[in-house]
Symmetry: D2
Subunit: 433 residues, 4 copies
């Protein structure tokens, strides 16, 4: 959609994925890269009124000190996924962006994450103060860059799992937890999402952190006309799993065991090396199989931190299955993909799709985005193909709507076209309080 100025505010902005998102967006804007890996750049969304990639404005926050250029240089040198010459060309653009990265919060995120943050000078005294700060940051980003909307994307490290609680179920209880600074019930991700929704910003939780989209927050989003979706971006092993597992059902073959072993070496991996954070991650990876197959074969998912691999996530899956006459057979695969390279185009997709949903007046969960997530909220469909079908249906719907709007506009003359644009929610729109 030409002219729609969309902000993308990245939580964990100095991480590998986030930096790759930023480099990618800058490179695409300058025509230095192809949008390979972006679903919204393929034929599926041709003709849909998505925000143009060159109109995306990026910003964000991080708990760590450091710079985008540091991360970018590391990615270029250690993993080779960012070409040196590309980096040279967009270096000024990256440097221009550095001041847009504000200070983030690691409140109740546990030891592993807090160690990343380093000594904090500006430790705020309460959850409410943190929320206030986040809202101010979002509001300033919107104003400074003259944005029509801001999509908030959580790319921070996996928080320790949070015990399900009745306090998460309704807004009043959650508000009370926020008032009382209840460390057991809320996490940094909760504060971010709460602030974003109150600010009228769509939220994408690309992490497994459950605190980000608690039931009460989803309800708040629905009430306030804000689209949200999560959890946990599906980029590698689980993606393959969700494509392969249905094959066994289609053939009535019985999966006996499905063992997965993931090794990776980036910051994400370092945080996941901590048992509490790993537990949260494995939980979202582990349910996919039984949901697809309709029964639970023996299955464990390991994630191990192997520093030398850096961003190259390597996964070995061994699938043991039973066929006719009880014969046992196996399939094994090794996936070698760069975590950031796989995730970054999906973030750009999700930002564009969340902005579109918001502009179309959708609110609450976006089930049509299920294919992007390991644990899609509110969706019971786990097979990749069926999830993709949901996206196809949505794209068709969007195109049909756009077509009929166009026809209506053509009928009522050029004057209305301007009015329609004014009708899209923007600054001072009703989503925002």
């Amino acid at each position: 959609m030409a002219g729609t100025r969309t902000g993308v505010w990245l939580i964990g902005a100095l991480g590998s994925i986030s930096t790759t998102v930023i480099i990618g967006a800058l490179a695409l804007r300058k025509g230095l890269a192809d949008p390979t890996g972006m679903v919204t750049a393929g034929s599926l969304f041709e003709g849909a009124p998505l925000a143009r990639i060159e109109d995306l404005e990026l910003g964000g926050c991080d708990i760590r000190q450091g710079s985008l250029m540091d991360t970018a240089a590391h990615l270029a040198r250690e993993t080779g996924i960012i070409r040196g010459d590309l980096l040279s060309e967009i270096r000024p653009d990256i440097e221009e962006m550095e001041p847009r990265i504000s200070r983030g919060t690691s409140r109740n995120c546990g030891e592993a994450i807090e160690q990343l943050a380093g000594p904090r000078q500006d430790c705020l005294t309460s959850a409410r103060e943190e929320i206030h700060r986040i809202r101010s940051q979002l509001s300033a980003f919107r104003t400074d860059r003259s944005l029509d909307s801001v999509v908030v994307v959580n790319l921070a490290s996996t928080e320790p799992a949070i015990a399900p609680s009745p306090h998460h179920e309704d807004l009043a209880s959650l508000e009370k937890c926020l008032d009382e600074d209840d460390a057991g019930a809320i996490r940094a991700s909760t504060l971010y999402s709460y602030a974003a929704i109150r600010e009228g910003c769509p939220v994408i939780n690309f992490t497994p952190s459950q605190g980000a989209l608690l039931p009460a927050l989803v309800q708040l989003a629905a009430d306030r006309g804000v689209p949200v979706m999560g959890n946990d971006g599906k980029t590698g092993e689980t993606l393959v799993k969700s494509a392969l597992a249905p094959m066994f059902s289609y053939r009535n073959l019985r999966v006996l065991s499905w063992e997965g072993f993931n090794i990776l070496g980036n910051l994400d991996g370092r945080v996941l090396d901590h048992p509490l954070n790993k537990a949260a991650k494995i939980q979202t990876k582990d349910q996919v199989l039984s949901k697809i197959l309709g029964y639970s074969p023996h299955s464990r998912v390991h994630i191990d931190y192997v520093p030398s691999l850096d961003d190259q996530k390597t996964a070995w899956d061994f699938i043991h299955f039973e066929g006719f006459l009880g014969a046992r057979m196996s399939l094994q695969f090794t996936w070698q993909g760069y975590d950031s390279i796989l995730a970054a185009p999906l973030i750009l997709d999700l930002a564009r799709l969340a902005e579109l949903a918001w502009r179309r007046g959708e609110s609450g969960l976006m089930p049509h985005l299920a294919s992007y997530f390991k644990a899609p909220l509110g969706v019971e469909v786990f097979g990749l193909h069926e999830q993709y079908g949901m996206l196809v249906d949505y794209a068709d719907r969007v195109r049909r709507d756009a077509e009929s709007t166009r026809r209506r506009e053509n009928r009522s003359g050029a004057a209305t076209a301007m009015g329609a644009a004014a009708g899209t929610p923007g600054l001072g729109d009703p989503h925002r309080e």
Copy 2:
């Protein structure tokens, strides 16, 4: 469908797949095995009026001399896929079946296959005589076992590729080739299918041999009310490929290369070790990818004969793909499956589904069976999931029809029920000439 006596006539009856089909059917009939691997035994076809497995009668022909028990003992001893104790229990049933295996034909099948046949005493002088013999065999099988119908399944070794020819396009030309014994235009598989269709028998071509379902034969089948389908059963590497390849499209990732390396050691492998036969096989495997992706990445498929593997087909596939910012990543998988174990339940499925189609009065190609084949005739859908969707739709249609028949019958009283049964084509039915 209780009471429907269905014959399954296996071409290449002494081969590993065929023997496993026979052992499986006998074991299922006696309750000694589960139907794992049979799609028609799963929930998908619940309530559909399929022939009961225990009502299937097996027979067939082979160019080799030998016995089912020889092959069965080999499978038990060398591969372990047939358990020794199971074999002991059904040994009498197998032995009873031995006389039902007639002499087959290897006419125009090339050196590799003719070597299997050994010295032939009864070499027939013409294609027409071969056809006559096959029709007699089918007719005798039907009469001897009091069958309502006979499904012919081609499980013979892969024939050398046959050059496309205008003679294959219309029946008159093909009949002329048969009259003239044109060695370049017809193969053994052509004779089998021609005879089967003339005899009113549905034909399943589970092999890559293109001679089996030439356009003129498909036309003949359509004209004579006989359902047919092929080519080349999808049991291993290609199955995985058709499940995985769409994933790359869904993510807008570019497949650069997809290299496949298959090794196997059974008779099938020995025949495929001959360049002419291998070429025919690789052709059907190779098109799947470009059809799914919409472009042609670098891709080669190797098949090698490795005797020690016997029936355990092992495949290694290496997939090189490009993602965001031009980064190159890879996925590799190793598939280790028993060829016969994977194929046998599909043969039983296809026999039941072909019989059902025939009973329902369908004729010509059966596109709903696309998921079973590497090169489904008349179908442009190659993704596994979409192919499976076609089967799901068919199952729904069948169930709906069965339901409305049942309702109609209930309305018109018990008397009509009998008439409906009489209406199913059977002995002396119009399909047969």
Copy 3:
């Protein structure tokens, strides 16, 4: 050595490995199998005066109730590694052996192992009583089967690790621990080895259990003229590792990470699923690499219990290494081997070699057997090739000695030959107290 009657007493006699040893020995004796996998049956030991396989007599003990035939039938049915027809032929021999399996002890072996033992009626009151019972069993085995010697082989489940202690260093302290029933310092394996050594029996510890060959026990063995060796048979992943790791050194390539992932499903796997027992196992696997390379790359070894695999141990190793100009490359392998099939011939080797060492008057550790063990006691050589070289040297020495004995005998006439035989230690020999 014709006529040397050697007993092999297996601790954990009802386990998969042990049962395979017994089946193998019986099959070899009857000429129903080849000695593939036995190093002592190859050309290396040609001409060495080893006990003949047909002269080995097997016996042993187990904490579990059950029978050899149960385990054998399970191996035949579930894994297919024992052919049904072979089992039928040697069934009477196996059944004859059943009474030779006595009751074992699981003293201080922790929960995981004690659960296997089931409720115990005959719980003995003290470590000394257990030792007494074991010595009686060994003595009875020797007498009943008229054996010249008995080799004790520990094949029991891995015990929890035992903390190193000064009590393990000298015999007096250890004796005190035995007197005082010190649960923290001694394990069942300690009792077995103590009893065996006191009884003059060579001990092979094929398990990682460190209690079996504590320094004080090795000293006792050296003092009493008894050869012993351990720990932890090298059969699969570690075998490959010790063959491959030197390659990186030979090329001056730097191993950055070596990650191993083992899955298996037999009883051994079930016990290893318990954290304490797993820790003990991983310890012996983990040191191989740093000893070979001379530095410690990032390395973790996982062992997971995957019931469906039963005896088929599957291991995936991923090796990340750095080459010229800092480039990073990888090697990965998947090993799929049957644990029992790999171990059993080595047990027969070790029994023959321990008996030979004993007959030759060697005592204490047998470093020439290093290639058989993951953590060879008293040996700092971890590369497979060099370890094998030690065995080659030993075989040469043995052959030379045998040759000179023969020559001496020839010189001094036939009479002496008999005397030489009398000179080998046997019943009533000085090793035994």
Copy 4:
């Protein structure tokens, strides 16, 4: 050896391996890289009087037009194995080297190689003229760079196999072939080696091209005091094979099949895509196994050209083996290494070792370099470990000799030291005609 000026003249100088050799040598000289991957830089040769890496001078020839910087930039951009910042730093040094690359010959190298050469203006009329030109190039290189010696390393594309012929056996016959320009008996590699040996330059044939070190040429080298060695550098799959295969012998396990599948995408791969060139390559890879095992399991080696992989050679090997009681098991590995990165340090090793041998007055084949080659000439040892042992022995011998020289020199005073240096062969040395 400080002060020894050694030239390294690379045939195929613009190829990936050669360019990596040059970049590596320049980077090492400037302290911008570590010598990881160079065996002569490890502890093995500590104290041996090898030429210093910084004293190596590089030059060479190629049949292609182009520049080192083109290849270097391609390697940096497409494979990432040369870091962009490293390339920037040594760019001036590379550019200075460009003029040192002379025009090569592709005489009798077949279609695949001649296509690389492009249209030739300076096609010489006879083999003798080519030899004359090569000798002039070598002589000029030596003089221009004031070199003590020049080692010639063949890194050109694999030539088609050459039929063994009596003409190759003695020098007189070979000279006659050269006189008569016998296209069937000589290849470009023959001309290069002949010229080099006549010029007194040691020759390393890192390619499988058999023409390079025909028996008559080896004899000539021996006669003229020139050390030579080949064939076919062992860098990847065969390296792993030669480390792993002995393991099966050590355990008396029977290898049934060993199937290898190599894919690569560089120029080398493109040439090998031509059947004649591939045949020559596979021949040297294929014999390793049977030589190590002492019998010939089923084995095929495939090499396929997969352009997207560029320099990343990927190999999958599947090893099927039989163990105790006839059980069949498997090991498979996937090797992912950069061809040039693996080869380059070995070239530097071989150049230093050939120069050392030459300085020590050795001549003819250098069997101690067996571990570097797939088909080591004159050596029947194929196991990696034993081959490495030969290098260890040589290193020891060299060190001992150096030590005794040093002692002798110390005894006879400083004056002699200078004389000893003068005694090393150099310009105007007796090796040269």
